[in-house]
């Protein structure tokens, strides 16, 4: 018993260290975001005895971050919608319909997810410019949707496969078209799985940087990560503002991740481990 207590106590100490390592940098950013400018250049004290909301006011109301957050919501939501609808149709086919060449298709899907984004970025830029879509949210959202498709298809295929095939045949015998069988029978049952896929696509799109940086050129279309990376500093780096902006941009995804942590881990595992 004593032994058990000792090892467990030791393990909890280690866990506290891990917690400090994982959360410390974020907490420090939180402390920074409420420091007065003159306290930012003073250390100690680590925890200041006065706080301010001036950085939050500045980034939310006097910078283009507000616009960028709106852009990010629009981009991430539409990328998620496209990836789930288009990916869902494809996943259903791969899971249930008798077509040839499925291993090749799955392989192609997987290969796409391994493309280094840098390899496609210049033609993609030229393509979007040619289509007149450069510096639009459509270009960013569409690109995010396509690069999230492999993950979405992979996940949803495995979810559709877990549902009993008899359901499908029953629906077909009752006169449903395959599309109707998907919409009326499979969709309601696969809803939790679809939610996990949607969540992961949303987080991917919200955090993505390189495509968003390249395909946008103005404050009106910039997404939040791009805004945080290009934070304007006229004479010196505005660390307090950057800290406030960082937290505002992180909060939605960190909140989603913490809230749905179990589903996310299950999704990541299904996407990579189970195959």
């Amino acid at each position: 018993m004593m032994d058990w207590f000792r090892t467990r106590g030791w393990a909890l100490c280690m866990l506290a260290l891990v917690g400090l390592f994982c959360l410390g940098p974020v907490l420090w950013q939180a402390v920074t975001s409420i420091k007065l400018d003159e306290d930012l250049v003073r250390l100690p004290p680590i925890i200041p005895d006065r706080a301010t909301t001036v950085h939050y006011e500045r980034v939310l109301f006097q910078s283009s971050l507000g616009q960028s957050l709106v852009n990010s919501v629009v981009v991430a939501a539409s990328a998620t919608a496209v990836a789930i609808v288009v990916g869902g149709l494809c996943a259903f086919t791969l899971a249930r319909l008798p077509i040839g060449g499925k291993p090749v298709m799955l392989g192609l899907v997987l290969a796409t997810s391994m493309f280094p984004p840098i390899a496609v970025i210049s033609p993609l830029y030229l393509l979007m410019r040619g289509l007149g879509l450069r510096d639009t949210l459509i270009a960013v959202g569409l690109t995010h949707a396509v690069y999230a498709l492999p993950l979405a298809i992979w996940l949803m295929t495995s979810f559709f496969r877990q549902l009993p095939g008899e359901l499908y045949y029953a629906a077909r015998v009752d006169g449903c078209t395959p599309l109707r069988a998907l919409l009326m029978v499979f969709l309601p049952l696969a809803r939790p799985g679809l939610a996990v896929a949607a969540l992961l696509v949303f987080i991917f799109s919200w955090n993505e940087f390189m495509f968003a940086l390249t395909l946008t050129a103005s404050d009106a279309t910039r997404t939040a990560p791009v805004a945080v990376a290009l934070f304007p500093g006229l004479y010196e780096i505005p660390w307090g503002d950057i800290a406030a902006a960082s937290l505002v941009v992180t909060l939605p995804v960190a909140g989603l991740a913490a809230l749905f942590q179990r589903h996310i881990v299950a999704g990541l595992t299904a996407g990579s481990v189970k195959g």
């Binding site: 467990r8 003073r42 250390l43 077509i99 077909r172 955090n207 995804v253 913490a258």
Partner: protein
């Protein structure tokens, strides 16, 4: 597909009757059209561009064949970027795997037998994973700040350093600063996947081993490690490919500097494309990277071939 009942398509509305197979191609096609347009076609276009000398600023656009590739071969900066990328990848992936494994064993050990979940601990370690990469770069840039950064202050307090270190301005420190940031950001992914793997190891095996007198190390060496090997391989492959492609984290933290000491392949290609606007040569760099990653991917697909066939 044995024992699958043959289904006669029957449409109530009396519309066109499509075979099962046609439906399949119809439903799958939007995904493949999109992937073709936004992923496959650009790769082909990049290959085509890489055979050109293209400088839009000067109105230059000529076909030069493999000339760019010859230039690549003699480009010292390209080889330096390769070395930086490999160094960054090996160091960060190895550290992440080791730390991740340790963390997974720790979390698994805490739940072992008690049936209690480590939900709050998992929530804690998923935070760095969820933080946008760009934000994590800004967080660490502030920690590394030479004059008011927390890191220098803490190291000074415990007496490890006497002079503040300008982590991101020193070529020897900068790459390691980037590795530490990457380890912070991605160890959780490794740990969570490995933890999920650990949960599938039958507990009876450990009990049996203990009865046979096996110690903790022997249990790990002969039970845990072999059974977890598939997960370890997958974590390795995923993390290696992410590391080779690394762009935003390092680009925002150091911009590739000081000098070119943290310039990875992606950063070099990006700068060539969008800062010096050499679309031809930049595409050559990008294509070279694509080939390197493709070599890794095919290795991975080979490993996964069995899964793919089962899945289909």
């Amino acid at each position: 597909m044995i024992g699958q009942p043959s289904v006669k398509p029957r449409s109530k509305t009396g519309g066109i009757r499509l075979s099962e197979r046609t439906w399949g191609y119809l439903l799958a096609s939007p995904a493949f059209v999109l992937v073709g347009l936004v992923a496959v076609a650009p790769i082909a276009a990049a290959l085509w561009l890489s055979l050109h000398r293209r400088l839009p600023v000067f109105g230059v656009d000529e076909f030069v064949g493999l000339w760019n590739y010859a230039q690549l071969w003699n480009d010292e900066r390209f080889w330096a970027a390769c070395r930086t990328t490999v160094y960054f990848t090996v160091l960060s992936v190895a550290t992440e795997l080791l730390l991740g494994f340790g963390l997974a064993l720790l979390l698994d050990g805490l739940t072992n037998g008690t049936g209690k979940s480590t939900r709050w601990a998992q929530v804690m370690i998923i935070v760095p994973w969820a933080v946008p990469t760009v934000v994590s770069a800004q967080i660490w840039a502030w920690l590394y700040q030479p004059d008011y950064g927390l890191l220098n202050y803490l190291l000074h307090r415990v007496g490890l350093i006497t002079q503040p270190i300008d982590w991101l301005a020193d070529p020897d420190w900068a790459i390691h600063a980037a590795v530490v940031m990457d380890v912070w950001k991605t160890t959780p992914f490794a740990a969570l996947l490995l933890l999920a793997g650990l949960k599938t190891v039958p507990r009876d095996l450990y009990a049996a081993a203990r009865v046979d007198g096996a110690g903790a190390w022997q249990q790990f060496r002969h039970i845990t490690l072999p059974l977890l090997m598939p997960v370890v391989v997958i974590v390795l492959v995923f993390r290696t490919m992410d590391s080779i492609r690394v762009f935003d984290a390092v680009y925002v933290l150091t911009g590739g500097g000081p000098g070119n000491s943290t310039e990875t392949l992606s950063i070099y290609a990006y700068k060539t494309l969008f800062q010096t606007l050499q679309f031809g040569y930049g595409s050559t760099l990008a294509t070279a990277m694509f080939l390197i990653v493709a070599a890794f991917s095919s290795l991975y697909l080979l490993l996964l071939r069995r899964h793919l066939q089962e899945a289909a």
